[in-house]
């Protein structure tokens, strides 16, 4: 029996695939590409926050590392774009191994602060190393990928380049989260000491989770560079991590697709509201306060509550 939910997801994916062919609005395609990439970043963040119970304040460091590895390999080492892309997924994971090892030795607030420190170190080095990374100016005119001799110049072309990568990554994440590994992560999130008692090597799982999330964060960073054609130090700054945090909480940190929904809302609002007002941070700040006070489960959480209350009302009616 096919679950109605699975059918819904198939439809959504089909819609994503055909969307730009039907609706010829370049701006919307551009927006959707950005939502996909930032959604992936937020999902990687939520693997640590929602599923493992760790708050990595320096997570953007890996987004930045992915972006700069790609950019520097292309610009300085003149490697082909696709090879650089693949390397930019794995080299940051090496950094994550060292950083993650130290971070998971600490708990809660100290984990967050240590992660923040490492993230800011990455940011500051990129920012200051003018001769190698272009410093605060950043690196521009990163070329578009060339597939089978065909350069992906248009926005639509690039959308179709990004979509399979993001969908595949989401599928991988889904499999990870639903696997026994994912169940253990959640147990660790709920109560690390109890998990330890159950002979689970907590630190090993936390480190693995850290590495996986760093991988996907780096992927998001690289995809973003190829998308926008530039790389700037702020990709590694804590403010980028906060973007992921806001998207995750707004969408719903306890659901799988929450972060992507959050990414869609935040990115959409950002691009549309900034036409009317300079004060997007103000609106965002108010949204955050509202979330913290009244909507901890985010949009998905709200949706779940509504579904439950509809069901309840339904069953009440029948009695």
């Amino acid at each position: 029996m096919v679950k109605p939910q699975s059918l819904l997801w198939v439809l959504v994916i089909l819609a994503l695939v055909v969307f730009p062919l039907i609706i010829k609005a370049e701006f919307l395609t551009f927006l959707l590409t950005e939502i996909l990439i930032m959604g992936l970043f937020a999902m990687s963040f939520n693997l640590l926050l929602g599923y493992t119970g760790l708050l990595p304040f320096g997570h953007a460091g890996f987004f930045g590392l992915g972006a700069y590895t790609l950019t520097l390999l292309i610009k300085k080492a003149s490697l082909p774009i696709l090879l650089s892309f693949i390397l930019s997924l794995f080299i940051p994971v090496l950094f994550a191994l060292v950083i993650g090892y130290f971070c998971i030795q600490r708990v809660k607030v100290y984990f967050a602060l240590l992660s923040l420190a490492f993230g800011q170190i990455i940011f500051t080095i990129i920012f200051k190393w003018y001769s190698f990374t272009g410093g605060d100016t950043g690196i521009y005119s990163v070329p578009r990928p060339v597939l089978f001799g065909w350069e992906l110049k248009s926005t639509v072309a690039y959308y179709y380049f990004t979509l399979p990568f993001v969908l595949l990554s989401l599928l991988l994440l889904l499999m990870i989260v639903r696997s026994p590994f994912g169940v253990i992560l959640r147990a660790i999130r709920e109560n690390p000491e109890r998990a330890e008692y159950l002979a689970i090597h907590v630190k090993k799982y936390q480190l693995l989770s850290f590495l996986i999330s760093a991988f996907f964060a780096a992927e998001a960073g690289s995809l973003f560079v190829l998308f926008q054609g530039y790389s700037v130090p702020i990709f590694a700054h804590a403010t980028k991590t906060v973007e992921a945090l806001v998207m995750t909480i707004l969408g719903g940190t306890y659901s799988f697709i929450g972060p992507i929904i959050g990414a869609a809302i935040v990115t959409g609002l950002d691009k549309i509201l900034t036409t009317y007002t300079e004060y997007w941070p103000l609106v965002l700040g108010i949204i955050l306060l509202f979330l913290a006070l009244y909507l901890p489960g985010g949009v998905i959480g709200l949706w779940e509550k509504i579904k439950v209350s509809i069901k309840l009302k339904g069953s009440e009616g029948r009695e």
Partner: protein
């Protein structure tokens, strides 16, 4: 408490949404022919606002004057404005949104050198003209030049050449250079060092300071200068950084001991006004425009109109932006269309009459050729801020590198 709290938040939210949508009502007003839309990128916040607001106001004045005369080709200019916060990625984001979402006809602005270079790429990628009234890095018209970008400001090489010529009259040999640590500061320093060596081969740089852009606290740098005891200081600060630096340095007696030369910092009327009585006398400033010069009726009229519109004297950053809009307007008229390629052809080699005098947009590097002014701060009973006096004017042709030099630099950069 819970109910009231929720109500409060909801009410707050609704009122914000309403206030954001209010500007929409203007969208429904009547327009005859569609306007020519300019996507403006300005530095509108923080210390950089001293420059950004000046760029913005200069552009507004020009747009209003042109629209009052019926616009260009019967169409009015519409100037959109967004704050780039002196961040290149923000500038690129806004520029991209301008092109995709707002479908602008031209890109106008960027002031900080690193954001200018970034938006130049966006302009080239999307085949839109970018006119920058403020980016001074040489790279804009040399290394990173592309067909679609134009500059109505001086390039660093022109400014630093003018500085070197001015400085050659003084006997100072041991120099300390201090400037903001980003694209503009480094590029200006490179040009200054080369030009200084040309006029004073025995000059020596005894120290350098590179605080970050918009550094809140210059005191360790000031201490360093006092320690090193140079014969003179060359400062590359602009806008709010100049104000902050001078304010902090006055307290340590820096200006009593050391001659101070400031490019595009001292000489900015906003800096003079902000410092007021705290501004030291006898410091040197080099600018592209000082409101009291030239003594022509056209300039006087410009200053008066600007004062009436904005309640203040026009600073150097106003003029380059005012000029920029006029260049665009005249070029569109000459081309007879807003089509990008034709307007580019019209802009190349165009000479227009500005309050500063005649200014030409050179064809080969899309760079204006305009004079540069140096002077010293002194008291003037007419004003309650210090003025720039003892003016030395260096004509554009004397300070501009030749076309040959520029082409050679470009070749060297490509290697």
């Amino acid at each position: 408490m819970k109910c009231r709290g929720k109500l409060l938040i909801v009410a707050l939210f609704i009122s914000i949404v309403i206030s954001l949508l209010l500007p929409l009502k203007d969208a429904f007003s009547q327009v005859e022919k569609p306007p020519i839309v300019l996507g403006g990128l300005f530095l509108l916040s923080g210390r950089a606002a001293v420059v950004g607001l000046a760029n913005y106001h200069g552009a507004i004045l020009a747009v209003e004057e042109i629209n009052a005369k019926g616009g260009v080709l019967g169409r009015k200019f519409e100037l959109l404005a967004r704050d780039t916060k002196a961040r290149p990625d923000q500038a690129v984001k806004e520029a991209t949104m301008y092109i995709m979402r707002d479908k602008v006809d031209f890109l106008y602005g960027t002031a900080a050198s690193h954001e200018g270079l970034a938006v130049a790429e966006v302009a080239e990628k999307n085949k839109k003209i970018l006119i920058s009234p403020e980016v001074t890095t040489d790279k804009f018209t040399v290394d990173n030049f592309n067909r679609y970008i134009f500059r109505t400001d001086h390039m660093n090489r022109q400014e630093e050449k003018s500085a070197a010529v001015y400085i050659s009259r003084f006997p100072y040999k041991k120099w300390y250079i201090i400037g903001p640590d980003y694209e503009y500061g480094r590029d200006a320093e490179k040009a200054f060092k080369e030009e200084l060596k040309r006029v004073k081969p025995d000059a020596v740089i005894v120290g350098e300071g590179w605080p970050k852009l918009n550094e809140p606290d210059y005191t360790p740098h000031i201490q360093k200068i006092l320690e090193v005891k140079p014969e003179a200081v060359y400062a590359i600060f602009w806008g709010g950084d100049t104000i902050a630096f001078i304010k902090q340095a006055v307290g340590f007696g820096l200006f009593e001991k050391t001659p101070f030369f400031s490019i595009s910092g001292v000489g900015d009327i906003r800096v003079h006004e902000a410092l007021g009585k705290d501004m030291p006398v006898g410091v040197h400033g080099g600018v592209k425009y000082w409101f009291d010069y030239p003594y022509t009726p056209k300039n006087k009229e410009f200053v008066e109109t600007y004062r009436k519109r904005f309640g203040e004297y026009p600073s150097l950053f106003v003029m380059s932006s005012y000029m920029g809009i006029y260049f665009l307007a005249k070029a569109i008229e000459k081309a007879g269309t807003v089509e990008t390629e034709k307007v580019i052809d019209a802009l190349e080699g165009l000479t227009i009459d500005t309050p500063m005098g005649l200014v030409t947009m050179r064809k080969e590097d899309h760079q204006v050729i305009a004079p540069h002014i140096w002077g010293k701060t002194m008291k003037d009973p007419k004003y309650d801020f210090l003025v720039l006096g003892d003016l030395q004017v260096l004509p554009g042709e004397k300070i501009t590198p030749s076309v040959e030099e520029v082409l050679n630099w470009r070749k060297a950069a490509k290697k």
